[in-house]
Symmetry: C2
Subunit: 448 residues, 2 copies
């Protein structure tokens, strides 16, 4: 890949190619071994595996061992790595660093693929019918859970901490998400999925995914222009809502067409390739009308959620998610500069306050959403609120894209990371306490 001249062979080019392969392949080894080791630990602690992947990223990244360092953060690769690769390929440590930086976009492209695959899978697994059953209550909870943290967070950052509007809006938006996967697994484990609370939370989380990704698409597009103005904002909001509406309509009408095509395909791997084409087409369409490609990936999943091949599609997409979404989450951790949160450095006091503020608003905003809906039957509103709390992968997607777009300062990035880690960590722990430690009877809970 590094050979512009196709005929003449320089001695050096072979060494560069060896270093390139060693780095590309070795990076995967480091990412997967460390991320999976910590993820296994998390599973045994009954915590979400995504926490393990984040922690792994921080551990091997720019705040830790410097084994994986994104070129953007301008950190030096660990001397152990440059030394090992250098001696194997016969290159100087400086050349190794250079090859490393040059090949990093490939790793980022793979992580982007993982992000798209994850959002596609989220869309695919959205059970829109379940949403209808608890429609009104779920909608109330979802909207309250989006508006409260967003408004409180953005306003607080701007007025209390004097953060500029664009990063403040972005941080606020990052607090709107709810991780459906984490909530669903805790509720499932405690056998509360089929209870009214479980259904409201899952319904609201599905809606939150849609709202969150629409907000993300709009915020990134508006912020990409460099300044806020209401004209494009409204246009983009309408475009995003129209995009999701079209996807919802297509999920009823286009899925049969997809099935018809897949049934006629005979070459091996047909389902994998056909759904990948839908995924990429939707990404292209979203980006082409000025929205985030991530919204397209999610919409692609929504469209195919009504296909009769969903099971095969999931089986084809899951390995991509297991491999490449892990890379995405680890990379987010690697780019974080946690030294800005070191409490022993007085210069960091403001940053720490911001982090504490974000975490508080993130918890309070979602828990309060549990009291937003009307219900004739008594339901445990604390459980609903806590169930909406984990930001998980969706919050991280915000963080990753904001960090990529260079919108956030290191201190704000670290604060958002802490907010995501904190809510993702606390939600399962608190839910187990409230549900398991309290009683199985919702009426006995604090507020009915």
């Amino acid at each position: 890949m590094l050979f512009p001249a196709p005929v003449l062979l320089e001695v050096n080019s072979h060494q560069l190619e060896v270093a390139e392969t060693l780095i590309q392949v070795g990076r995967f080894v480091v990412i997967f071994v460390v991320a999976r080791a910590i993820a296994e630990l998390m599973v045994r602690l009954q915590l979400p595996t995504i926490l393990g992947e984040l922690v792994a990223g921080v551990l091997i990244g720019a705040s830790g061992l410097h084994l994986i360092v994104p070129p953007e953060v301008q950190a030096q690769l660990s001397a152990g790595v440059t030394g090992l690769v250098g001696s194997l390929a016969g290159l100087s440590p400086e050349s190794v660093q250079e090859v490393y930086d040059e090949t990093f976009p490939s790793l980022q492209a793979v992580s982007q693929l993982g992000l798209f695959a994850l959002l596609f899978l989220t869309g695919l697994e959205s059970e829109l019918d379940e949403l209808v059953a608890v429609g009104v209550q779920a909608t109330t909870v979802a909207v309250a859970g989006v508006v409260l943290p967003f408004a409180l967070g953005t306003a607080g950052l701007v007025y209390l901490f004097h953060v500029p509007l664009i990063p403040a809006v972005f941080a606020g938006a990052a607090m709107t998400a709810t991780s459906i996967g984490i909530t669903a697994s805790v509720f499932g484990e405690l056998k509360w999925l089929k209870k009214r609370e479980g259904q409201i939370v899952i319904g609201a989380a599905v809606l939150d995914d849609i709202l969150g990704i629409v907000i993300l698409a709009v915020v990134v597009a508006v912020v990409g222009g460099g300044a806020f103005s209401f004209g494009p904002l409204i246009k983009l909001c309408l475009a995003a809502l129209a995009f999701v509406a079209v996807a919802l309509v297509l999920s009823r009408t286009a899925a049969p067409a997809f099935d018809w095509v897949v049934d006629r395909l005979q070459a091996p791997g047909d389902v994998a390739v056909a759904s990948f084409v839908v995924l990429t087409l939707c990404c292209f369409a979203a980006q082409a009308i000025g929205l985030e490609a991530a919204l397209g990936a999610f919409a692609g999943g929504l469209i195919l959620s009504a296909s009769k091949h969903t099971h095969d599609i999931e089986n084809a997409v899951k390995p991509l998610v297991a491999l490449f979404a892990t890379v995405f989450f680890v990379l987010i951790g690697t780019g974080m500069d946690l030294s800005v949160l070191n409490p022993f450095d007085p210069a960091n006091r403001a940053g720490l306050l911001v982090a504490a503020f974000l975490l508080t608003v993130a918890i309070a905003g979602k828990v309060a959403a549990g009291w937003s809906y009307l219900s004739k039957e008594p339901t445990n509103r604390l459980v609903v609120g806590l169930g909406m709390m984990p930001r998980g992968e969706v919050g991280l997607i915000f963080l990753g894209l904001g960090s990529q777009a260079g919108i956030l300062t290191p201190a704000l990035e670290a604060a958002i990371l802490l907010m995501v880690i904190g809510t993702t960590f606390l939600a399962p722990v608190l839910l187990r306490l409230v549900i398991g430690g309290g009683s199985e009877d919702p009426a006995a809970a604090p507020a009915g």
Copy 2:
């Protein structure tokens, strides 16, 4: 990904990112839609799908529509593409071309992943036990089928056509492969897989895979040094054989250890990630001792072929192969300059002669190998020879890596491509003629 300065936001950077996403995503759409459309046609013509992917590559590549052009071949992107992306992202066509060239390594990295996944799957599906049953005869056929085309091809290129030694050796090596997949599918369809001929051919093809990849690893490593010398050649041959021997031993001993680990993993996607770690570790090990990473991928598959989880591993790897190996084959086609074979240009006469020579030697060498073994029972030696003929994906891997390493001239690349296409196309056609059109009784065939 294109942002070195993480804080300051330029208006332009958003446009660049939009163009980047449109290009990256759009490339996948073009590759998959065209490749799959032609592959489906091939399935209906009872021809190998890989031919469709190659033809698709040529069609959309530098010799065709210029929709996908590797930067190495210095071809301009089609004006339609630069115009469309440029107008969507608000950039000039020149900037689009630049973004296109800059992001191409990511596509190549993905295609490399596909290659590794394919070789891993090939190793995983190698039935070493079947090989033992027809051991001696298969070994004779495999060795004859490697030595004859390699020796005849290299010698002919050097002495008849005055091709320099290094490209001649590389072209000779590209003729040694046998595509087990294509042969197995044709034999399976004609119900000859369980006959003696089928077993010999499959056994020999497995051995050929091993020999071919060892040869590839050695040739690329030696050629990478820039010149031939016997010291490194012998060292690398020994290293490659030792590597494969270790993999074969590990397939008996390390697979249980792998199973033990996988049985203890609980995080989702454990099989996919664990086998990916084995794959990447083997690639790293091969590259670290100076061999091709591709050999490592194959060895990784061999090691895990004795695991009790092979079925799950295959299911996890197959989507990667369906998606990314397609990219690998299409990219080979896109880089080819078929104008050097235009028969109406007198300057191309020498190149056409080389292509005709390679194709003849590639067919004759493998068919002759059908007469190399001793057998008490009468077997149809023509069927064995024809079964060894298709070069398929293995021949293409040679071509792809040689082209990447800048070893081959455009004329030689095109000649090898024609050789691969010719043998891959002719083998199933001739086998159906000989088996189907002749008789089901092997004794009635030309030579007993």
